[in-house]
């Protein structure tokens, strides 16, 4: 984001009848019931994040031998308990864990077992019991289930993730240039899009978010993904530092949206690049770099939210985990159970979420993957019920269809 153009934006509301004041009414509408302050941030790690590296079970007797050269050495993992540590790249998450503000669910999975990225992401984000069971995202349905209350949601990224897609129009935003063109154009387009069910609502929401972004970013410099050729420091390490800085400032910007008076309460962020079939590395390497970025993003959110962190829950979830054994190419193939991270200032202190099935040969799922002991829907149900106050019946039927048999995880918040 570069400079803002208040002239154009103030004209927008009048010219296009876009209802800027309506789009972000959220918090003000139910400020009196305490739930208006609650924030939920979902980070979808796409590609199959390797749970056994995110929260390595260094105390599990089979871990080191299964993992071979990609095992995180026990001495380098950041300790959580006698079995688990965190990857050394997750220093920010670890600091939160020490304060009781971060927990792991180390053997969690969606109900999908096909090991296909696309199927598994569909099931994770739609909240369905099976693939293509439902066409909208469960967070979108959660907005409806919030009943008479109006809850605003925002996705971060240039394309719309399934998790927030659906009948309720949600906002989206990504870093990048926005313009200062003709002050008339948005109004003219709004007229031309008046009968257009796709472009009309998208434009209106986009303009409202654009205005908000100017405030959210304050005086921060324009952000762009790191581009080869413009390193901020020397060599590869320079790129990594630059990537961390971008991720951290992205986190702060997203926090800036959420802390505005009518800002979104529900935010979805996608982080790509977890499909580590080859050369994933151990304490350092390809996966470690991704985790550094994830840690920086979370740190930025934490810093940017400030006081509001107390009322925030962050869930980091992935579509599936990876094989327990290292494969032939120093990586891991598509697996089943993985780790979800749960963070936030209002978490109850506690150990791991769900049971640890161990990595014993007879405990592995289909003799190759971490066996899931917890359904991802149960984790989200627990968060949506206890943190956002959603009705349990709605969670069992509408938000997660046909899921009455999947119990909400209790006592997280």
């Amino acid at each position: 984001m570069t400079r803002s153009d208040p002239t154009r934006r103030s004209l927008l509301a009048a010219a296009g009848g876009l209802g800027l004041s309506v789009s972000f009414l959220g918090r003000a509408a139910f400020a009196d019931d305490g739930l208006a302050k609650k924030n939920l941030i979902t980070i979808v790690a796409r590609g199959g994040m390797d749970g056994l590296s995110v929260s390595p079970p260094v105390g599990d007797p089979d871990y080191a031998s299964l993992r071979g050269r990609i095992a995180i050495p026990a001495g380098e993992a950041l300790p959580l308990d006698s079995t688990f540590g965190l990857h050394p790249a997750l220093a920010g998450v670890h600091a939160l864990a020490l304060k009781g503000q971060a927990r792991i669910a180390p053997a969690i999975a969606s109900p999908d077992r096909a090991r296909s990225h696309f199927e598994a992401q569909d099931v994770l984000e739609s909240g369905g019991a099976k693939v293509y069971g439902t066409a909208s995202g469960f967070l979108n349905r959660a907005l409806t289930a919030a009943g008479g209350r109006r809850v605003e949601a925002l996705s971060v990224g240039a394309t719309a993730p399934l998790i927030l897609r659906g009948p309720v129009q949600t906002a989206s935003w990504s870093p990048g240039p926005t313009g200062e063109g003709s002050p008339r154009l948005p109004g003219i387009l709004a007229d031309l899009y008046a009968g257009d069910p796709l472009l009309g609502p998208a434009l209106a929401s986009g303009l409202a978010t654009e205005a908000m972004a100017a405030t959210a970013q304050g005086g921060m410099p324009a952000m762009a993904p790191p581009t080869p050729g413009q390193p901020s420091g020397a060599g590869v390490q320079g790129f990594i530092r630059q990537g961390q800085a971008v991720a951290r400032s992205l986190g702060k910007t997203v926090a800036g949206f959420m802390t505005q008076a009518n800002g979104p309460q529900i935010v979805a962020v996608s982080v790509d690049g977890w499909d580590t079939h080859a050369n994933q590395g151990a304490a350092q390497g390809q996966l470690a770099t991704r985790l550094l970025y994830l840690d920086a993003l979370i740190t930025g959110l934490n810093e940017g939210l400030g006081e509001a962190w107390r009322d925030t829950v962050v869930v980091v979830a992935t579509e599936f985990g990876r094989t327990a054994r290292v494969n032939g190419t120093g990586g891991t193939d598509h697996g089943t159970g993985s780790t979800a991270l749960l963070l936030g200032g209002s978490l109850k202190r506690g150990g791991i979420i769900g049971d640890w099935p161990t990595l014993r040969a007879d405990a592995l799922f289909e003799a190759r993957d971490t066996r899931p002991t917890l359904d991802m829907r149960g984790l989200f149900k627990g968060v949506l019920a206890d943190h956002l106050g959603l009705d349990r019946a709605a969670l069992d039927a509408a938000v997660f269809p046909d899921s009455a048999g999947v119990r909400a995880v209790e006592g997280l918040i």
Binding site: T178, L189, T209, E210
Partner: protein
């Protein structure tokens, strides 16, 4: 077909092609069907963006040299100033990937055979090689040029084999290093382990061929089928620095890492036959009826509607089955299907289609990579970089996020500020959309305050955003 030839021509050029250049709809009006069918060239395939391009093997060889330098730098050794790995990586992207992408965009912006190019882009996306790694960034362009474009009107089986055996695909989906656990090389490595060299299977390519390139995820195959296919594919690799010169960077079959023995995939047993084993599996996958169904539906969705008429997909599928997967017959079935000519435009253009059609509308073309790469990235479609092996999404819901529409508007304004100059924007609008131009948009363009605003309105109009 639609009632008037004018409208038919406008649909031909915008829905099946890449958008109209000035005068193009008028030229096509004489015979829109002939205009399309004459672009189907079984012998030549698609047009090539570059006439004498750098080969994938050349790029891979250069990358191997870079890898050695990078390892030296990482180990604290000294690299000569002119071989700084970061600089070299930047140069590979600038002089390789960027050149390839710009050439491809310029071809798309200027070709008189828009359908032929769209058809090539469909297949390049079907067999995605994404620039997510530096090595694949340098070979994504050559892959399209060498494996895909020559074969897009030939037999699907040939396209599948060419894609699966191309070094770019073998590197992108990690096949090149996959080692049969009972191969000679694995036995050797067990006796004498070597640091950094594994000795096992990688099932990435096998899974994506089944799931994405051929039968589709609901075809009923199991994890064991994936693993068996992966075992059969071991040995399909890329020549390295120890190979003789003319094999470096090329496809090689390595018998010593191939898993010995017969394999069973989807109920059929394939005898041990070195490279022939996986080739036989590919042949059967290409001929599988689920492949015909899966891809026919994808073609209908790509060209006509996110939710295409089942009868359209069925027509394409019938042509596929009857011809044994001959893509000339498949393309003919698409363009001759009445369902494909419904006047209502139901596809939102992808960012690439939007940018290219904008240049076509003004009779221009991108002059530098900076004209096309940053806007594509901001709209979520970074050059040569689909987010996964599934390729770019073909659904409006992906591309019509509120932020993406703002990014389109911002780009349209900037573009118009530069190019609107002395343009007769009323004529531009008429020529770009022909009878598809609606009265409200025609009026809004005519009443704009400036040429810049007029062109922005045209480019952002609902009918220009769709095809």
């Amino acid at each position: 077909m639609a009632s008037s030839n004018d409208l038919t021509a406008a649909i031909a050029v915008t829905r099946f092609g890449l958008g109209a250049r000035p005068g193009e709809i008028a030229e096509v009006t004489a015979d829109p069907g002939r205009w399309l069918s004459s672009q189907i060239r079984p012998a030549e395939g698609a047009e090539q963006p570059q006439q004498d391009p750098e080969l994938a093997s050349t790029r891979i060889k250069a990358f191997r040299v870079y890898q050695v330098d990078r390892r030296m730098a990482r180990d604290g050794g000294e690299t000569p100033a002119d071989r700084d790995p970061v600089q070299i990586a930047a140069r590979m992207l600038r002089e390789g990937t960027a050149v390839d992408f710009l050439a491809r965009a310029r071809l798309a912006a200027t070709t008189k055979q828009g359908f032929r190019e769209r058809w090539a882009l469909f297949w390049a996306n079907h067999f995605t090689v994404s620039a997510v790694k530096l090595i694949t960034a340098t070979v994504a362009g050559p892959f399209e040029q060498e494996a895909i474009r020559p074969r897009v009107f030939g037999r699907f089986e040939d396209l599948l084999v060419a894609s699966s055996a191309h070094p770019a695909m073998l590197l992108y989906l990690d096949q090149a290093q996959s080692v049969g656990p009972r191969s000679q090389a694995a036995a050797f490595l067990r006796r004498r382990p070597m640091p950094g060299i594994g000795g096992g299977l990688n099932e990435n390519l096998a899974r994506e061929i089944l799931e994405l390139h051929t039968v589709g995820v609901d075809a009923g195959y199991s994890q064991e089928d994936v693993t068996e296919f992966a075992r059969a594919l071991t040995g399909w690799s890329v020549g390295g620095q120890r190979e003789v010169a003319d094999q470096q960077g090329e496809y090689v079959f390595r018998a010593n890492i191939h898993e010995p023995g017969a394999r069973t995939v989807m109920g059929k047993t394939y005898k041990a036959d070195d490279v022939g084993q996986a080739a036989a599996i590919l042949k059967d996958l290409a001929a599988h009826p689920k492949t015909a169904r899966h891809i026919s539906w994808k073609i209908a969705r790509h060209f006509v509607a996110d939710d295409p008429p089942p009868s359209l997909a069925a027509r394409i599928e019938a042509a596929w089955i009857a011809s044994g997967g001959h893509l000339t017959r498949v393309a003919e079935a698409l363009i001759s299907a009445p369902e494909a000519w419904d006047p209502a435009p139901r596809k939102l253009k992808t960012p690439y289609e939007f940018l290219i059609s904008s240049w076509r509308a003004i009779g221009g073309q991108p002059g530098a990579i900076e004209h096309i790469s940053p806007p594509l990235r901001s709209m979520g479609m970074q050059a040569f970089s689909p987010p996964s092996p599934k390729g770019w999404s073909d659904e409006a819901v992906t591309w019509a996020a509120p932020d993406a529409i703002i990014k389109r508007m911002t780009w349209a304004e900037g573009f118009s500020a530069i190019v609107a100059g002395e343009l007769d924007t009323n004529a531009t609008a008429a020529a770009a959309l022909g009878p598809r131009l609606t009265e409200p948009v025609r009026l809004a363009v005519a009443r704009a305050e400036s040429r810049q605003e007029a062109l922005s309105i045209l480019l952002m109009s609902p009918e220009f955003q769709r095809r």
